[in-house]
């Protein structure tokens, strides 16, 4: 079970969180004309890197904040966590 540092609450067990997918995906702006391909990439295409990955977790049984977690997908090492609006490195 992972031990995730919530920037709002501190170190908490994984079972307080819900996984939220790739944090690097950016939703296209509203009302913007975009191609099928671009939209398709946004909705469906995700990289599944082995190694460092920035992902979203939702502290669902805690502060209910979405946070960004930089995690190694093969070793589960967590390098850094960020608040939703914090700039990532």
């Amino acid at each position: 079970m992972l031990y995730i540092f919530c920037p709002h609450c501190g170190l908490r067990s994984q079972n307080e969180f819900a996984y939220g997918g790739d944090a690097t995906v950016k939703r296209p702006e509203l009302n913007k004309e975009i191609s099928d391909q671009e939209w398709n990439n946004f909705v469906y295409l995700r990289k599944s890197p082995r190694g460092k990955h920035l992902e979203l977790w939702h502290h669902i049984s805690g502060c209910r904040q979405w946070i960004k977690v930089e995690r190694d997908t093969s070793t589960h090492e967590i390098f850094k966590t960020y608040k939703a609006d914090e700039l990532t490195e």
Binding site: Y3, S13, N31
Partner: protein, 998 residues
């Protein structure tokens, strides 16, 4: 009753407390502190089971977790427990155990015929033998394998025992209370660290219990007792015995199973049977010790052949002799310690040492005691079927290839020592890549992966002095890192006998013309020939060899067999062991009961149960409940002998004719507040929200980004910047997360807050033509006329002194209102509605009637919004704005979503107007078409229309709009039904929606 093999003046069992138990129906006795194994051996019993594959007789091989043979089935307090290791289970009064893997009895086992059919059980026999003819599988192979397989029978009864889970946090977890565990725990605890020390056995001390050493002028046992007593008295230390740390998971989470009551006849009141500890440790010291390796020779699985360290522990801890004519077969000094212990207890052992001319303190001591030793000698084969009776021994040449002077000597046990294998399982589970250490011919942990360090013999340190020094240092170092204290305790001096190097020889060659089975894996019956065969057949990767031969795959996880298997592969392949590599260790280190894993989360505790504030009223009024997610909702209110069908029909009819009331507390409710709330809702819902006036509700549909409908519900503008959103019961939690996602991550510039208010409001839906008349009586001071409170209107009102909210919304399609009060007043509200509603023929209705009402109205619900439908499929396209953007809009123009013949919602009525259509039926054109019959769609929901008194269903079918009026067929292969149907509009009742606006 005498115990022929019990020694008088040695051991730690309580001689003052005799305990009787039965084994295979026969009564035996032992003493408090005995395990099943020690008590049976004391009684001269060595035959306890049959092996897995060949059903060869099985005795005891070890004395603890490593035991591959003595797996028994236990009966305790009328509960059955399979897969119990006799070497670990302590006896208690009335204990009943029996052998497994043998039928009809351990002495006469029919499966033993397998022993003579060995040619059918070569390596990979699972893949080879039972293939042909296929017709043999069900009738012959499978029943045969089933009867022969397994380690006991699991109980099929509900387990009445209690198991608990506990979460614990500590600075330092230490796994094992041997010398390294004790020393490091002591050093760390004295330095202020919060320590958990776990010991899997009942007694603390590990190897100190059996070794002849001196620490700080005390015997090993005295020293360990002193340390444990002091540790127990410290408030920063938790010491647990009978507790196995079996898994090392991510981020230093370790799991330990504590056997609290297994050694007692009955679980004590207020205590669980077992407790599972989830321990998050800042640092871990793995002091799990090492396990003696077997030597491999002919028939080395015969009962009476066992590890020499086990023989010593049976004497020193239990006061039990494993034999009176022992043969010690060793390649190192450890065998001598066992021999010396035999000698001290009046038994004359014979030592066969594979080494040519070793010399050390221990060897000299053995010589001085007059113990007979044969150097460069080996056991060729054990003789005897159910127990060792003699052994063929031989002199072995210096190159260890040739045997000479083979002779048979009498003996009743063979104690083997092939040196020691560090228990690196936990380190390996943590991700530590181990490395092969040539000096000890075994793997030891490499660089720490997580916050773990391995110490003592688990780290390949086999002298006590080294172990104690390392452990004190590590305990201090690790605790200093955490506490930053500098309290260093002094390290006691250690006196021990010096030993010399072991012999790398471990597998005795076969004499000419003999084909003895030489076993590597004792639990899965994997012999040398199996590995040889696997390699001949081309298996190279050790992981493949393992799976093909099943080496190390039994419940003992190859604790005694892995290394010898690797040695053999590397010998045959002419490689060194590290090139062969080793297989992966996975948790659990020892078997864990399912009960402990599940804990208290069984039956109704497996999930929380949520009840509305009106629950008690429903119960008192004969509600039959149904699970709706975690909620309990009334499905119908039973009157007399009514069936579900009759009751729901009555309730639904009464709504259409008079008035009904339904508990809708379970609907998800979310408060949406802030100056940008309208803009936010406008982006979340598919329809327009910017112009909704205060005091009005609107129905909305929200999509996922892929265009699929996520949820629907009404949202009401309570005040300028305050909206009350409702969601379906099932999606409430997901919708909240969804909203939070967009507010926090996608549009943080929007000034909006959302919070769940589901628990804050109790809701009652009042539906039917009489509902306004009822409302006028409930709220005499509020104008609820069609003008005062029009369809989709909202008002705050006073319900007999309590504040209430009235929403004029309808799911049933009738004139209807939803009244909300704060949860605490829910029951009051409900009782008032029923009381005042009497004159209007009010009846409560449950979810079944609710479904009927919405189905015949063509209102969609979860069975239509099933994660595959876009708004158009559910005839909700009128709610999709063309002007503005919203979540998921761009997906709606994807080619698959704009195909004209997409599946769409329709109504279905059976032509005979009597046969109900099973939900899930396929709609097809021709019921007799060749299979697979092309399907047009499926029936999503069915009811008995109370309006027309005939069955009615909703279906989602291809090109639905254009199918209306067609005669088709509904087929349910599951129910073996084919029904001729007509496709009609999904709005079966009041298609113009006049009633809700009346």
């Amino acid at each position: 009753m005498s115990q022929d093999f019990r020694l008088d003046n040695i051991g730690m069992v309580n001689r003052n407390k005799k305990i009787s138990f039965t084994f295979n129906g026969k009564k035996y006795f032992g003493y408090e502190g005995d395990t099943i194994a020690s008590a049976l051996i004391a009684n001269g019993v060595h035959l306890v089971g049959r092996s897995f594959k060949y059903h060869r007789p099985r005795g005891f091989f070890g004395v603890g977790v490593d035991e591959p043979y003595a797996i028994l089935q236990l009966e305790r307090n009328n509960e059955r427990d399979p897969n119990i290791r006799a070497t670990e289970q302590e006896i208690f009064e009335g204990l009943e155990v029996k052998s497994v893997n043998c039928w009809p009895s351990v002495n006469f086992d029919i499966g033993a015929i397998n022993n003579f059919l060995k040619m059918f059980f070569p390596a990979g026999f699972y893949y080879k033998t039972f293939m042909w003819p296929p017709s043999f599988w069900y009738k012959i192979y499978e029943p045969f394998i089933r009867m022969a397989a397994g380690f006991g029978e699991a109980s099929i009864k509900h387990d009445k025992e209690r198991y608990e889970h506990k979460y614990e946090y500590c600075d330092l977890l230490i796994t094992g209370s041997g010398p390294s565990g004790l020393a490091s725990a002591y050093a760390a605890a004295k330095n202020g660290a919060r320590v958990i020390l776990a010991e899997d056995k009942p007694r603390y001390g590990g190897s100190l219990l059996t070794s002849d050493v001196n620490i700080g002028n005390q015997t090993g046992i005295e020293w360990s007792e002193k340390i444990i007593t002091e540790l127990k008295s410290m408030s920063n230390v938790i010491v647990k015995n009978r507790s196995q740390v079996f898994g090392y998971y991510d981020h230093n989470m370790l799991v330990m199973s504590e056997r609290i009551s297994d050694h007692l006849p009955k679980t004590q009141k207020y205590l669980p049977k077992q407790r599972l500890w989830y321990i998050r440790a800042k640092e871990v010291l793995i002091s799990s010790g090492s396990i003696e390796r077997p030597l491999v020779f002919g028939n080395n699985d015969t009962p009476g052949v066992m590890l020499s360290s086990a023989a010593k522990e049976y004497m020193k801890v239990y006061g039990v002799l494993v034999g009176k004519k022992p043969l010690i077969f060793t390649n190192n000094d450890s065998g001598y310690e066992t021999a010396i212990e035999f000698k001290k207890n009046g038994v004359n052992p014979l030592i066969l040492d594979t080494r040519k001319e070793p010399s050390s303190d221990i060897i000299s001591e053995a010589k001085n005691l007059g113990i007979e030793i044969k150097f460069s000698y080996v056991v060729v084969a054990a003789k005897g079927y159910k127990k060792v009776k003699s052994a063929d021994i031989a002199k072995i040449s210096d190159n260890k290839k040739d045997l000479s002077n083979i002779e048979n000597i009498e003996c009743d046990c063979i104690c083997v020592s092939g040196f020691w294998t560090p228990s690196i399982h936990l380190a390996s589970q943590s991700g530590n890549k181990s490395e092969f250490n040539e000096k000890i011919d075994a793997f030891i942990p490499k660089k720490s992966k997580q916050k773990e360090n391995t110490i003592g013999s688990a780290n390949g340190k086999f002298t006590l002095e080294e172990t104690i020094n390392e452990a004190f240092d590590k305990g201090y170092e690790v605790s200093n890192k955490i506490t930053e204290n500098n309290n260093k305790v002094s390290i006691p001096t250690v006196v021990e006998k010096k030993s010399t190097e072991h012999d790398k020889f471990w597998c005795v060659p076969l004499p000419k013309g003999k084909s003895y089975k030489r076993f590597l894996d004792f639990q899965n019956d994997v012999a040398v020939t199996d590995i040889e065969l696997a390699l001949r057949e081309g298996f190279r990767s050790i992981e493949h060899v393992k799976r093909y031969t099943t080496l190390g795959m039994a419940t003992d996880q190859g604790k005694t067999s892995n290394l010898n298997g690797l040695q053999l592969v590397s010998d045959i392949e002419n490689k060194v062991v590290p090139q062969v590599g080793h297989t992966t260790f996975r948790p659990p280190y020892t078997p864990v009961s399912i009960g402990a894993i599940v804990g208290r989360e069984v039956g109704k505790h497996s999930k929380p149960t949520r009840k509305s504030p009106m629950h008690e009223w429903h119960e008192k009024n004969n509600a039959i409940f149904v699970d709706a997610g975690v909620w309990l909702r009334p499905r119908y209110y039973k009157q007399g002998n009514e069936t579900l069908f009759e009751a729901s029909k009555r309730e639904a009819k009464n709504v259409r004719k008079n008035v009904g009331v339904c508990d809708v507390t379970t609907l998800g409710k979310i408060d949406v507040k802030g100056p940008d709330a309208a803009e936010f809702l406008n982006r979340v819902y598919t329809n327009a929200w910017l112009k909704l006036p205060v005091g009005k509700a609107r129905y909305g549909v929200m999509l996922r980004e892929d265009g699929i409908v996520m949820d629907d519900g009404t949202t009401t503008r309570i005040s300028e910047n305050h909206y009350h959103m409702t969601t379906t019961t099932a999606q409430a939690a997901n919708v909240l997360s969804h909203l939070e996602y967009y507010l926090q991550l996608v549009w943080p510039e929007l000034n909006v807050n959302v919070v769940s208010t589901t628990e804050q409001w109790a809701g009652a839906a009042i539906a039917g033509p009489n509902s306004r008349a009822l409302l006028m009586k409930l709220f005499p001071n509020t104008d609820v006329s069609n003008e005062g409170l029009p369809f989709m209107g909202y008002k705050e009102a006073d319900l007999f002194g309590f504040p209430a909210k009235i929403y004029r919304i309808s799911f049933s399609g009738e004139l209807a209102y939803e009244v909300n009060v704060e949860s605490d007043y829910g029951n009051f509200m409900w009782e008032k509605i029923i009381e005042v509603g009497k004159e209007f023929q009010i009846q409560p209705y449950g979810t079944e009637a609710l479904s009927t009402l919405r189905i015949e109205m063509g209102h969609v619900a979860g069975s239509e919004l099933d994660g595959r439908t876009i708004p158009h499929d559910a005839s909700l396209e009128g709610l999709v704005s063309k002007k503005k953007d919203f979540i998921g809009k761009r997906s709606l123009s994807r080619s698959a979503f704009i195909k004209p013949d997409r599946e769409k919602i329709v109504g279905v009525v059976p032509l005979d107007k009597t046969t109900s259509i099973p939900e899930g039926s396929y709609i097809v054109k021709d019921p007799k078409a060749k299979l697979p019959n092309p399907k047009l769609g499926h029936v999503s929901a069915s009811c008995w229309s109370v309006e027309y008194d005939n069955p009615f269903s909703l279906a989602i079918i291809k090109d639905g709009k254009n199918m209306i009026g067609q005669k088709l067929f509904a087929m349910s292969p599951l129910k073996n039904k084919t029904i001729a149907v007509e496709i009609v509009s999904s709005h079966y009742v009041d298609p113009e929606g006049k009633r809700v606006r009346a």
